[in-house]
Symmetry: C2
Subunit: 241 residues, 2 copies
């Protein structure tokens, strides 16, 4: 059975303007791979309803799971929850369990509930809450979409609680062979090896050392660790000839 | 006149598997903002023809400019140039000027031309070359799509040579006010200020200090530096009350 597929939607003007360097994509990619879920696409869109709604609908239709990051705080530019409700055409209102989660956290931390913070208890009808151990305001899952905060510490905690409840697939094993030659020198041998091993994937990643010399990392991935190791040995022999 | 719009397409299994943390998106975002070009969407797709062709066509139709990163090397997984040719429905062949650019570089660096490296001189019909001062193999521009390498040093050099020839818009000024209070405390005042200043954008970015305390960075952006500065002063007054 093939692994489940997933897509990610990063929501936030700050990423597109270059102000903030996104950290959540790299974190989620690593976690999904370790869990046997294939991340197939990532989109980054601005804080604009049409862009968010369009991307959510396209990704939810195209992949088994969608993970979103960003836009669920208390300020005017936090519009993700409303956009998800519109994408699924369901109502959104303050929900008691979300309000209680916020209030419990605020009692502990000595924060005052107000109208802006209460916005974070607005949850689309039919959604399941995702716990936020850091700042109280919950994420939620609706249909095949998991909606999470953009602050990395909160995003990571939410990913962990979502993944703990998901069925993954077979995690791929990977091994990397670092070759002291440029990609162009090894491309022919690597291409033949890839053709002869349709069950494995061979990724070729050039690097340049500080003295300007080029080398190549070849990453071999597959479900069978023995087959991956054998292919690495074979490649090492081929490129040392 | 509104600023030109742009999208970015990052091509590479290594980003989606979590093996590599993409660096090109953040670099391009900052450069485009400084140049007065609005980056409106980023997509990351795997090394698969259907995914690349579909994304190129969608982004080229939706935005004034598209910048791609990755997949133009000599190995079997470098399929970007072929996919761009198919997306625009034009032939692709080894082109003399591209081959000469490679040969000149290889003569200087003492690298041997071979069949795999010659693949990097395959350029879709009608494209203009983008110089690669690092490793010789050119990028290219076809229609409104600029196709560049994924290795960050090469990507950055190519972005610079593309931007030097593009007309930008009005770069936005931005000022950041760091506020020692959580987003929920300032959301109401900030929301009113945003409504009263439709020409400016107000982004709100929470952060957490190591002692668990929450603060907020508010980034105010606009074309008129005086208006941005005045709004920052106004906001500082409002949140200190």
């Amino acid at each position: 059975m093939p692994n489940p597929t997933a897509a990610m939607l990063v929501i936030g003007d700050e990423i597109l303007s270059g102000r903030t360097r996104d950290a959540n994509m790299h974190y989620l990619a690593g976690q999904l791979t370790a869990h046997g879920i294939d991340l197939r696409e990532v989109r980054v869109v601005p804080d604009q309803p049409a862009a968010i709604i369009g991307a959510v609908q396209a990704l939810a239709a195209g992949f088994e799971w969608v993970f979103t990051s960003g836009g669920i705080g208390p300020t005017h530019d936090d519009i993700t929850a409303d956009c998800i409700a519109r994408a699924f055409d369901v109502p959104i209102n303050v929900r008691d369990d979300a309000r209680q989660a916020l209030e419990r956290h605020y009692q502990t931390s000595g924060t005052v509930m107000n109208e802006a913070r209460l916005r974070m208890a607005r949850i689309p009808d039919g959604a399941t809450l995702i716990d936020n151990p850091v700042s109280g305001a919950p994420g939620f899952s609706l249909g095949n979409v998991h909606v999470m905060a953009g602050v990395p510490a909160i995003f990571q905690a939410m990913v962990q609680s979502v993944l703990a409840q998901m069925d993954g697939g077979m995690p791929l094993t990977s091994q990397t062979l670092t070759i002291d030659r440029g990609e162009g020198d090894i491309a022919a041998a690597l291409g033949r090896l890839a053709q002869e091993h349709p069950d494995l994937s061979f990724g070729s990643y050039p690097f340049q050392t500080t003295d300007g010399h080029f080398g190549t990392n070849v990453v071999i991935r597959g479900a069978d660790p023995g087959q991956v190791a054998a292919a690495k040995t074979l490649l090492a022999g081929l490129v040392s000839e």
